[in-house]
């Protein structure tokens, strides 16, 4: 029996086990919306802006092991989705975006709501398709899902002209996909893994550097076993938080621009660095020349060969699925029965504990001003470290990453690669739908939240009781911090004048709004927000925080990992070059 292209789209999504489609209707996709209306296998979530559709689908994926799906119309609907597509691309999130296109005969004629979606999204998708024939529709969608989730995951766009959704064809969903030109790596090269094992066993100052690839690749068990079995120090990048438990002793905190003192020093002065699904991003290692000025051997495990030796040359590159590679590594380690040299490792840990002893995340508490760090810490305590936390971009994002200890992967959702403001709220909605019983908190700023604040309406419609924590310092905080550091305190356009009353906004959308102005009220307000009474409600907490607080440690552009700007209580410590330290002369 022949069915319409629109019905084929719906059947494909059903075949893929899709639970939610995040979207916004419009002329070019009305056939698909009509087909959605006539089915009940998956739900459609109507967002208020297409950017939010892609962020919600993205976070749905990030917080589960499924592929997020967004559906948008042509032209402006499609271009609105581009920011979310680019966000997912930078963070390697599997996502399928279906966009409507003007009817085939109108393509290229500057038709109403026509845009070259395939052309526009080409640089920020893993792959994209324009479906020209209804007979290819099902196979194309199958390919889109396969490409999105295999290898290094990423977003795939399927652009479908309106007439293709109207034409009819037999529905046949392929069982499998074979694309001769696309064969993602799986198992790493055993010989390379052996070399890596030997190098790791010889290391005197080993360090494990875990990135978002370990989260996407679900390699947390293997990472944890490797780190624990050899008693290694470990760091998770902003994207890797949760891959190794954040509350564990062997975790040194996040590395990089706002990483901890101990993680950055260990990263700079280790002798063997194992990068697991991490790509030596500029926000992590800063400048390669300084990073490599301390000799170290680098083992780099990544599913994407182009991430290896892109910024930093790897001594032992291993291309493969991180989970499979680590498993084989652990197997080989077991067979060898060896451990790294105990004395050297002990000395290395001693040094690390000295670095850690400075407590670089210490901040001055206050009775008068709400410290943003304290809000995050209180959230951590009240949620028992179990909440799924989304964030936007800016100072609040870094404080969330620094002060909430993530013990499991897929618990921390933020736009790490693209740095997209407006991500937090729609992401929280997507995460809540994927995890209906989880506590979901969105840590945001008064600048970021206003980039997609209309999604409070979506949250109302779908009863997603997320807790929005706005760390409101009446400034674009990170911009202000940079202007303070690098632009002579000239706060050009970073002051958010004419802020709305967020409590009233929350109430206007049918939610609960709480304004918190005193440190003493932080904990009670959070307790109330997470109380049984408000369990089913979205609560918007407007924390009036200290305007002058900055994120420390910080590495300025062009500086090295051991050249951090440290918080006030650490400014007097002597930054002695590591080699000159007597205790460690034998280790270098």
């Amino acid at each position: 029996m022949q069915i319409s292209g629109a019905e084929i789209v719906v059947r494909c999504l059903q075949e893929e086990g899709v639970e939610f489609v995040f979207g916004y209707p419009g002329g070019a996709v009305l056939e698909i919306y009509d087909a959605i209306f006539r089915q009940d296998k998956f739900k459609h979530v109507l967002v208020r802006h297409e950017q939010a559709a892609t962020h919600a689908a993205d976070a749905y994926s990030r917080s589960s092991d499924k592929v997020g799906v967004a559906l948008v119309t042509s032209g402006p609907g499609a271009t609105n989705a581009v920011t979310g597509i680019a966000t997912a691309y930078m963070d390697s999130v599997p996502m399928v975006v279906i966009s409507g296109q003007v009817p085939s005969p109108a393509i290229g004629l500057d038709a109403f709501q026509e845009v070259d979606m395939v052309g526009i999204t080409r640089p920020c998708v893993k792959h994209n398709f324009l479906v020209k024939d209804v007979s290819e529709l099902a196979a194309t969608i199958k390919k889109a899902f396969y490409i999105a989730k295999s290898g290094r995951p990423g977003p795939v766009v399927v652009d479908i002209p309106k007439d293709v959704t109207q034409q009819r064809a037999e529905f046949r969903y392929p069982d499998s996909v074979h694309i001769r030109s696309y064969v993602p790596a799986t198992r790493g090269h055993s010989g390379q893994i052996k070399k890596a094992v030997n190098l790791l066993l010889e290391a005197k100052r080993p360090f494990i550097y875990v990135g978002g690839g370990a989260v996407q690749g679900r390699a947390e068990a293997e990472v944890t076993e490797l780190v624990r079995s050899l008693n290694l120090p470990c760091t998770n990048t902003l994207m890797g938080l949760g891959a190794y438990p954040g509350s564990d002793r062997q975790f040194l905190g996040m590395p990089g621009m706002h990483g901890t003192y101990e993680a950055n020093m260990a990263m700079q002065y280790c002798d063997v660095l194992v990068a697991v699904g991490a790509r030596f991003d500029d926000r992590v290692i800063s400048v390669p020349s300084h990073f490599l000025s301390q000799p170290k051997k680098i083992i780099h495990i990544d599913v994407d060969p182009s991430s290896i030796s892109k910024r930093v040359k790897a001594d032992i590159p291993i291309v493969g699925d991180v989970k499979l590679v680590l498993r084989e590594m652990l197997e080989q380690l077991k067979q060898s029965g060896q451990k790294p040299e105990g004395a050297a490792l002990e000395a290395w840990w001693k040094r690390i504990e000295e670095w850690r002893g400075h407590d670089c995340l210490l901040y001055a508490p206050s009775d008068e001003l709400i410290k943003p760090q304290m809000v995050v810490q209180t959230l951590y305590d009240i949620t028992g470290g179990q909440a799924i936390v989304t964030s936007d971009v800016g100072q609040h994002q870094m404080w969330a990453a620094q002060y909430y200890k993530f013990d499991r992967p897929k618990q921390w959702l933020n736009s790490g690669g693209l740095g997209t403001m407006g991500f937090g709220l729609p992401a929280a909605i997507g995460a809540q739908l994927a995890n209906p019983h989880a506590q979901v908190a969105c840590i945001t700023g008064e600048g970021s939240i206003q980039m997609n604040i209309q999604e409070l309406s979506t949250a109302k419609q779908y009863h997603t009781p997320v807790k929005v924590l706005a760390l409101n310092n009446r400034y674009l905080g990170m911009v202000r911090q940079w202007q303070e550091f690098f632009y002579g305190t000239r706060y050009s356009e970073s002051y958010m004048d004419a802020l709305p009353d967020f409590v009233k906004i929350a109430e206007a959308y049918g939610h609960v709004g709480l304004k918190v102005e005193s440190p003493a009220d932080v904990e009670p307000a959070l307790r109330e927000a997470f109380s049984d009474k408000l369990k089913e409600r979205l609560v918007f907490l407007d924390f009036r925080t200290d305007q002058s607080e900055n994120v420390f440690p910080m590495i300025q552009n062009g500086k090295g990992l051991d050249q951090m700007d440290l918080p006030p209580h650490m400014r007097d410590i002597q930054q002695v070059p590591f080699e000159n330290n007597r205790d460690y002369g034998n280790m270098c």
């Binding site: 395939v118 052309g119 080409r122 640089p123 893993k126 792959h127 324009l130 490409i147 694309i179 001769r180 030109s181 696309y182 994407d304 060969p305 182009s306 030796s309 892109k310 040359k313």
Partner: protein, 163 residues
């Protein structure tokens, strides 16, 4: 350093723009690019002449391999290869120049493929350097128009680029 990359890719609409887009998005250079279908109509073969350090060329190769439609990429520089470029050059050919142009075409093993009272159009193939040498060798003022294909390359001997 100059490199000549040979790429086998799916003969699909949009594949070429994906390759070109990759070069522009990542700020790599394309010195020349030739592309056409192969004996297998589902495959296109592309030759890209580019330049950059070994690290840059390694990245270009990896990024190209990441494109879904790209089946294989080789750097022809890594072993012996042959390359050819085609140039059509229209020159003024009047008076004493007419005989001179004929002689030059012969020396460079070119063929005159179109003749008018005042012009010759000469077909020349060879390496890019040879075509450049021809342009250098003739009087600039007689050149009316040139069109060059960019280099196509193939491995020497038994070496083939195939699926």
């Amino acid at each position: 350093m100059r490199h000549i990359l040979s790429i086998l890719l799916e003969n699909e609409a949009g594949a070429l723009s994906r390759v070109v887009g990759l070069f522009s998005a990542r700020a790599y250079n394309i010195d020349s690019l030739t592309v056409s279908t192969t004996e297998d109509p589902t495959l296109s073969r592309m030759t890209i002449v580019t330049h950059g350090s070994d690290e840059v060329i390694e990245q270009i190769t990896k990024q190209l391999n990441k494109l879904i439609e790209v089946v294989k990429v080789i750097d022809l520089n890594e072993s012996e290869h042959i390359e050819r470029e085609l140039m059509l050059i229209k020159v003024r050919a009047v008076g004493k120049d007419r005989e001179e142009m004929k002689r030059m075409a012969d020396i460079f093993r070119g063929r005159i493929i179109d003749v008018t009272e005042k012009t010759y159009t000469i077909e020349l193939t060879g390496t890019s350097e040879k075509l450049g040498a021809f342009i250098e060798a003739v009087d600039r003022t007689v050149i009316l128009e040139t069109v060059r294909t960019g280099a196509s390359g193939i491995g020497r001997g038994e070496r083939v680029l195939k699926i």
